[in-house]
Symmetry: C2
Subunit: 461 residues, 2 copies
């Protein structure tokens, strides 16, 4: 591939109205690369020049890659003829994608300019709930009747395949219009011409219901290495197909959502840079407030043991350290288990195995970290990095902190493994039981342990 074009080079072509050069650019480049540069063009009339000059098969693709702002502005400026051309040259799933983000008056304009049949398809797709199979499927696929031979099927594909989003899989329909098989193009090509397609079609195919969640659809693609999946309505009739490129987008989006939830946020609907300041703030404040209020327990515990702290002020110096370490070690486990649940590497059936493994990991980790912690704190106190003005000897303070740390790591790892699996079991998103929640719980627990050890073992008030 040649170099991706720069903004300056593209602007020069447009400003000098170098029509031939512009057309050649679209013929020899990936449209997504051009689109990225076009997104930086402020002057919408320059974009319009591209749409007037270049063949609509290219500009239709360009349009789907542009950001929402440019899309809305362009639609405002398009003539009805240009709109019709855009619709005719785009796949219905791409049209629906950008219509979903347009203001209602522009949607109406686009629908009015659409040819009747397209309009019906678009309207149907627009009505499927977000995040369902229906919302990511396309209606451009090829149906084949079940009584054809390989030769006849190939001839039919040749006749009607031009407008389909893919012909690598085509769909075999019986007389009652039920889907009875999936026909792979490579098998068609490799098989003798006179073979009936019934003999080579795949009758054990996977399907999705139009109302299925898109995450479940993505799982099916991954598990069975699919590139196309037929979508059925409630009457089991074929009404669309989903292709792998849209599924990869779904996978990315779902992972981003999981990551946001795990970090204590509501997921964004849009790209980060396109999301407004108040929306971003709103998505974060709810959880921050919830976690802040939950942290009240830590204040209450410290307040309850105020006298111990007064008697030995050095004790308060290590509270952040063991709280952080506890939170971090719990967060490690939660992240690992939540991810394992998301990729189906781990299921709730494995709970016994997981908790037994984490318990042993916690013992090893706790022993190593606590031993090191004991030596480190003893050193800190001895060389005076942290001053101990109280009456408890340095080695006892270090021992107290190390012992707390050890117990905290055990509890943090067990909680960290249990909470996401428990959430999954009762039908919640395991990502909800995330680092921040585990941290909050572990903080309170470790403080309690600390002060109980203080008062019980060291007989502090």
């Amino acid at each position: 591939m040649e170099e991706i074009i720069s903004l300056d080079a593209l602007l020069e072509i447009i400003n000098n109205k170098q029509v031939a050069k512009l057309r050649e650019l679209f013929e020899t480049s990936e449209i997504i690369d051009i689109a990225e540069v076009c997104d930086e063009i402020e002057d919408i009339s320059k974009l319009l020049f591209i749409f007037k000059t270049v063949k609509s098969e290219y500009t239709a693709e360009l349009f789907t890659y542009l950001n929402e702002d440019s899309q809305a502005k362009l639609i405002n400026l398009f003539s009805d003829k240009q709109l019709t051309e855009l619709i005719t040259n785009s796949y219905t799933d791409d049209i629906v994608d950008f219509l979903e983000d347009l203001p209602a008056n522009l949607v109406t304009r686009v629908l009015k300019a659409s040819p009747k049949e397209e309009r019906n398809d678009i309207n149907k797709l627009l009505n499927y709930k977000e995040d369902t199979a229906g919302s990511i499927m396309t209606t451009e696929y090829v149906e084949i009747s079940s009584d054809l031979t390989v030769k006849e099927a190939l001839a039919q594909i040749k006749k009607v395949g031009q407008d389909a989003e893919t012909i690598s899989s085509t769909f075999v329909i019986d007389k009652k219009r039920n889907l009875v098989g999936v026909l792979y193009l490579d098998l068609l090509v490799l098989t003798d011409e006179d073979t009936p397609i019934k003999d080579i079609m795949n009758e054990e195919f996977h399907t999705a219901n139009v109302h299925d969640d898109q995450e479940a659809v993505a799982e099916t693609f991954k598990r069975y290495d699919l590139t196309v999946l037929p979508v059925l309505n409630n009457e089991h009739r074929l009404i669309g197909i989903i292709t792998i490129d849209d599924v990869i987008d779904v996978m990315e989006k779902e992972t981003s959502e999981d990551i946001a939830i795990q970090a204590g946020m509501q997921p964004l609907e849009d790209e980060y840079l396109k999301t407004g300041v108040f929306t971003l703030a709103k998505k974060r404040i709810v959880w921050l407030l919830f976690l802040m209020v939950s942290a009240t327990f830590t204040s209450m515990i410290i307040s309850r043991f105020e006298d111990s702290l007064k008697a030995a002020a050095v004790l308060s110096a290590f509270i952040p350290m063991f709280m952080d370490t506890g939170g971090n070690s719990g967060g490690q486990t939660t992240s690992l288990i939540t991810r394992g649940l998301a990729t189906k590497e781990v299921t709730t059936k494995d709970y016994g195995k997981v908790i037994w493994k984490e318990l042993r990991v916690a013992l090893v980790t706790g022993l190593v970290v606590a031993t090191f912690n004991f030596l480190w704190i003893f050193l800190e106190l001895t060389i005076g990095l942290v001053s101990n003005s109280g009456t408890i000897p340095n080695w006892q303070v270090a021992g107290l902190v190390a012992l707390t740390l050890f117990s905290t790591i055990i509890i943090a790892k067990c909680l960290g493994a249990s909470l996401p699996m428990f959430a999954q079991k009762i039908g919640l998103d395991p990502a909800l039981m995330s680092g921040p929640i585990v941290t909050t719980l572990v903080d309170a627990t470790s403080l309690l342990i600390y002060f109980l050890l203080c008062t019980q073992i060291f007989r502090l008030v």
Copy 2:
């Protein structure tokens, strides 16, 4: 699709030696579903019965899905003839996948049993470094000479395509064996028979170098919606292809690695349940120790301000609360930005935009959370949830904490946005600048602010 078979049903078939039923099962089910059940079979002789009974085209696929333990045990028990059959019926990339996890003596046995040509291919692939294009490519693809017509090309594909992993794309080679074009099967089928393939092949194709990082390969697939990518050696000769199913696995693995690093762990090489306790502990201890030692600063700060805490013990009660809230709000931003960098939604060029956005988000979030915090703490103190035995009035304590919280949120969000982008800029993995590190930094900063406000504004010692 019918129901997935249960372990009991499969064992019954094997125990009663129901050969016909077993064969039918493999013909009508997805092999990955059967493999999952097979993994639960303890008695290896029962698995061996499957491999002796069922056609090797099915068992070869079954083998690739089994867990490493079963694979090693089976290879130990296979006759040389069975080994040869397994190799002949598998794609080289799948063979290499399982060889990489086998003990050396078994690898030697497998290589000895391989037909000479296969052996050479396998040896070459085994030598590519892990995580490169070479390590995930396969050598089973179809080459077409550039002077053929559509009809001749289809005939050639029909002749040699049976053994290829895919024929949906085939690769056009000139007389010097340079790759000059990619030929899509659907276009071949849709085009008139007598057209020279030169007219319809794609000459602006993407390629990977065999040493390219697999993450970069996955990016190319995603960006350009590819399903196949040709792989070239340093002399620009075609030596293999990568298919989308392997790329999806790479994407999943890379995301899991990012998530592990972000949670303060070294990523696992293997699935969680298959990884041993000591390996799991080792992956976590290094970071825990590092973060624990970093938390020393918090101990030093608290120790330095011991007198303030003695004068007003209530002050220590809120330290965990604002530290947690600061850590959480920083973690929100870091997660979002790190994910944005991973999906290329955000680049380091956007730094100005991002920091300006985060600053405003921090102002809004900080104002709301700090206001609520003021009221909440005032309430806690007033109703006695937390006791204030000192001389500072409740509203001043609440004001001090809220002011600290506000500053902490601003700093946390700016640090949280800057650190991952800075890491990316200097060529480090942005996931390294993760929640735990941001938390540690924010903890120290917020404590400093807290005590500076104490001593400066409230004139505490």
